[in-house]
Amino acid sequence: MKIYSITVFSTENEEAVNLTGEYELSGFGFFQRGSVQEFMKFFSKTVAERTRPGQRLSVEENNYIFYSYARTEGIAGVIICDNEYPQRVALSLLSKILDEFLGKFARNTWKPQTISYPELKNYLIKYQDPKEADQIIKVQEQLDETKQVMNKTIESLLQRGEKLDDLIDRSQEISFQSKAFYKQARKTNSCCTIS
């Protein structure tokens, strides 16, 4: 049971902008960590861009689950965890974080440079054990009117003609080292980010 990352994006324009994010990648080797983080950010952004306002998605990819929630206010949050982590907890946590984010930061401050949200790191550490979240589940379940979650795969989120490999290849945010790790993993047919 593990949460790997929590990221928040501004989705006002066609291309989502990563406003803040925290990662827990101690389970990876030193040289992989940077690449895993780049990929997680990239995939999170891809999912955030494809989540319609008001929608909640659960996207499974290689034993990782992405939970995304897009708010009508123009932000979206994405949590990446393993497939053991309870969905209910992940979604409640996501709602809580976005509520808090909107309360803390006015729209004109939504730039990666100006957002300082140190609590996010604490959440990432604290909620590694879902037991800690009993309280927020109770609160969020009363607040949330919609409980609908759509299950998707990364492929099903892509538009016609789009291919994941091409997106990765073209991406400026992914370093050549990370692309090399990705290709290596593809060759050995293992998971995309763990070599």
């Binding site: 040289f31 992989q32 053991e84 037991k131 080292q177 290709k183």
Partner: protein, 432 residues
């Protein structure tokens, strides 16, 4: 810029000898700075990256050096050549063997001849066994290598070697040695989950603990704490629960050494007449009963918290069998259940039910009832696990054939793909 094998091999050795390397990784790319003194290797802090494309060359170079020194071309592999260097005090040859085997094992830990050569060096006091353990720690930072049986065997051999060296040394504490193993195993199972070899090694350490020392008891208590944390956040990892079971049995042995006879007992054995219990003080039996009752409550809590994880139910099965074993030994009736503190906030009564047969049934039925209005795969699986558990404890307590038959029919319905339940149903029909 292409580099020859000899230069690469020597540069790699130089880096390893002159730095405290803590992690090694095979990289699908080279150092991007050709002018870097370690090019094409990449050294960041204590982390060393070796480009994949050079592996073959380096391995061949190390292999050539090693085989040339170690293997007699006329007689094949033999002790004699290494022994010759030892007797002639040929430091250079010994150093070359150390270096080349180190390289070979980094790249291919399955190289028996190389591990063998290093064992001989240890036996001749030319290689420090504690240093060799550190060397293996480094090999394990390649996630793939952490599942290599040759290296795990090498590690076990070294530990046994260290223990035998200190047999008559009163100051030597075996627990200090074991203490170093736990963090390594923890790291390895994190880097490469479901690592059978790592868990087996951990079981072996627990099996080596003497049951008459306070050092060993506190070691075991630490281990139980670590494992509680682990299983709580790895609810579908049976390896973790299995290890916790072995730790709990070991802990019970501190109170009653015959507990361990449970391993190897079948359900049929438990249906017979209870054994006449030994004269055991009631404090000791209370401690045993409390240990297992707490584990049962802990597991019930996990089952309710994380529905649909088969591993948790299997753990509960194990616990119900142990409980039956304890009552078989005559331990259970001695404790007054009213004196036991409630689990958690005490709100959930089901968690705190005394685990006799009736209450166990009630728990599994509660698990089905509580989510009966939700339709999702976890809830479906939870229902199936709960009924299968009911079948298990019913058989454990010798329930009537009719009861078992109706449970099996339910399972056939809920799990139509399972041949096991279908066969059992057919065999019931056959007997009628």
């Amino acid at each position: 810029m292409s580099m020859d094998a000899k230069t690469l091999y020597e540069l790699l050795n130089k880096i390893i000898d002159s730095h405290q390397i803590e992690e090694i990784c095979l990289l699908p790319y080279q150092n991007i700075l050709p002018k870097d003194q370690y090019y094409p290797f990449l050294l960041i802090g204590s982390n060393l990256g070796i480009p994949l494309e050079h592996l073959h060359k380096i391995f061949k170079q190390a292999h050539g050096i090693f085989m040339n020194l170690y293997v007699d071309r006329n007689q094949g592999c033999s002790n004699d050549k290494l022994l010759e260097y030892v007797n002639n005090d040929d430091k250079e040859a010994i150093e070359l063997i150390k270096q080349s085997t180190r390289c070979l094992l980094f790249l291919n830990p399955d190289f028996y001849t190389a591990t063998n050569a290093r064992k001989k060096l240890i036996l001749n006091n030319l290689l420090d066994p504690s240093e060799e353990l550190k060397f293996i720690n480094l090999i394990f930072t390649f996630p793939k290598h952490s599942k290599n049986s040759t290296i795990w065997h090498h590690r076990k051999w070294i530990i046994s070697n260290i223990i035998s060296r200190h047999q008559s040394d009163n100051k030597f504490v075996i627990m200090d040695l074991f203490q170093l193993e736990i963090p390594i195993i923890q790291r390895v199972v994190e880097l490469y989950p479901k690592n059978y070899y790592a868990w087996s090694h951990r079981h072996w350490i627990i099996s080596q603990l003497p049951i008459d020392s306070s050092h060993s008891l506190s070691f075991l208590d630490d281990e139980l704490l670590i494992m509680e944390k682990w299983v709580r956040t790895n609810v579908s990892d049976h390896s973790g629960f299995h290890h916790r079971q072995l730790c709990l049995i070991k802990k019970s042995q501190f109170y009653n050494s015959t507990i361990v006879n449970f391993l190897g007992i079948s359900r049929d054995n438990l249906l017979g007449q209870p054994l006449v219990s030994e004269n055991l003080s009631s404090t000791k039996t209370d401690q045993i009963v409390l240990l297992w009752f707490n584990e049962i409550r802990f597991t019930r809590d996990l089952i309710l918290r994380y529905p649909g994880h088969e591993t948790l139910w299997y753990h509960l099965r194990f616990l119900s069998a142990i409980w039956k074993w304890l009552s078989f030994l005559g331990h259970i009736h001695l404790i007054d259940s009213k004196n036991i503190e409630p689990y958690g906030d005490g709100e959930n009564i089901v968690l705190n039910l005394w685990p006799d047969f009736e209450n166990d049934l009630e728990f599994s039925r509660y698990c089905i009832l509580i989510n009966s209005d939700v339709d999702d795969e976890h809830v479906t699986l939870q229902k199936r696990c709960a009924i299968a558990y009911e079948l298990w404890i019913s058989e454990l307590h010798g329930a009537s054939k009719n009861n078992l038959d109706s449970l099996i029919s339910k399972l056939v319905e809920i799990a139509p793909e399972s041949n096991y339940y279908l066969c059992r149903k057919l065999s019931f029909r056959g007997r009628k």
